[in-house]
Subunit: 239 residues, 2 copies
């Protein structure tokens, strides 16, 4: 067994030195921090090394730099709190509940101008339209209304989505580059309401998801959830 002691890089030493002063409150917000040349003398390093330390701390939001003036401790920003959106089947299974799906529709369609613009395709491209109800313990929990560009994701229309969710097929078939989510609260239409077995005066949580592969929109989906039976939750711990 060998216990190696890995030396900390110099630029990291300097970064941690500065972070320590900020964390301890010794260097308060808007206060000036030593210039690159001052740090060069203090730590006996080259200016490129102090430059890297200060530049990275600036990129990370701890410092603010003004050319010709100096470097200052940044003001605290409200951190952003991520909320994760999972694949519905995984989510249900993680609760040790029974997942099932009902495929209402899976067919080729022609697109209108609005959809073509949203998916960044020509109007002559044919898409596959799938409509699926996802159930937890037999109770509807998500209505998935999806459009897929088979030029990007081939073979989509031939899948059995009672075995594997569209999302699972998509990520397996073509690795995702980018995912956009929009979460809304809406009142459901009559058909959505009945398909999800929702009561009157029940709101609907809608997630609109758009996924990119190879620089193109592979798929768009509207995921409707009954407000009384579904919620998004996330726990965020910094560091």
């Amino acid at each position: 067994m060998k216990t190696e002691l890995k030396a900390e890089p110099l630029y990291l030493k300097i970064k941690n030195h500065i972070l320590g002063r900020i964390d301890s409150g010794e260097w308060m917000t808007t206060m000036r921090v030593p210039s690159e040349n001052q740090l060069v003398k203090e730590f006996s390093v080259s200016r490129m090394t102090t430059n890297r330390a200060l530049r990275e701390l600036t990129d990370e939001g701890y410092l603010v730099r003004v050319a010709g003036v100096g470097t200052f401790v940044a003001e605290l920003k409200a951190q952003s709190n991520p909320l994760e959106i999972h694949n519905i089947a995984d989510e249900i299974r993680s609760r040790h509940h029974v997942y099932s799906a009902e495929v209402l529709k899976c067919e080729a369609i022609k697109v209108n101008d609005k959809i073509a613009a949203y998916m960044n395709i020509d109007t002559d491209v044919t898409l596959v339209h799938s409509l699926i109800i996802h159930k937890e313990q037999g109770i509807p929990i998500q209505l998935e209304d999806r459009l897929v560009n088979e030029d990007v994701v081939s073979g989509y229309g031939d899948q059995d989505f009672t075995k594997k969710t569209p999302y699972e097929y998509l990520i397996k078939q073509a690795p995702l580059q980018k995912v956009e989510h929009v979460v809304k609260a809406i009142m459901p239409t009559g058909s959505t309401k009945s398909l999800l077995d929702m009561s009157d005066q029940e709101a609907c949580l809608l997630i609109e998801r758009r996924t990119w592969t190879k620089g193109r929109v592979a798929s768009t989906a509207k995921l409707y959830h009954p407000g009384s039976r579904y919620e998004l939750s996330g726990l965020f711990k910094p560091e």
Copy 2:
């Protein structure tokens, strides 16, 4: 009038060149990207410049580097697509819109058993209850119903929340340890509906937020948004 054409730094040229290839799909996930020395030849720059470009893209999550092997396009993690929830005032200001707030209530209250359990405190602890309407361009966009434990966050009840949002005061006063979010779609109560100036048959997007400081629940908040005027959105690129 002088129209200066600011030259793009070389390291940025290289970064954008690589980002373009990734975005277009030309360079797929896990695919190898040119080495630093190859980029040196291609762009006629020094290795330090290509190193900076690749290093920054790695810090930003677009690339993965392995010493002795090479640099590769990063993979997207399929199962966790974070959605960020921001401070409402920052969000409105980032749209270059006018933010304003109306404080309806800010007073000490006694808690019942349910709240005591939710905030993990004794029933004899007094909390401050604040009720604030946040407006974008004068139009209500969030009703914030908040309870704050002043044992954890002192001086909360004495703030002027038309100047600074409760959230901003909280994070400044006591650094957050943990934040929990739950997003729901509900039908608003009569008072919520009228305070947010919502129409009939309009759903409400509710975010329940609980924040911890020093191991204790510092504050809980219910953030009500009119469904027609507010949505959560997130764009997820490789981390």
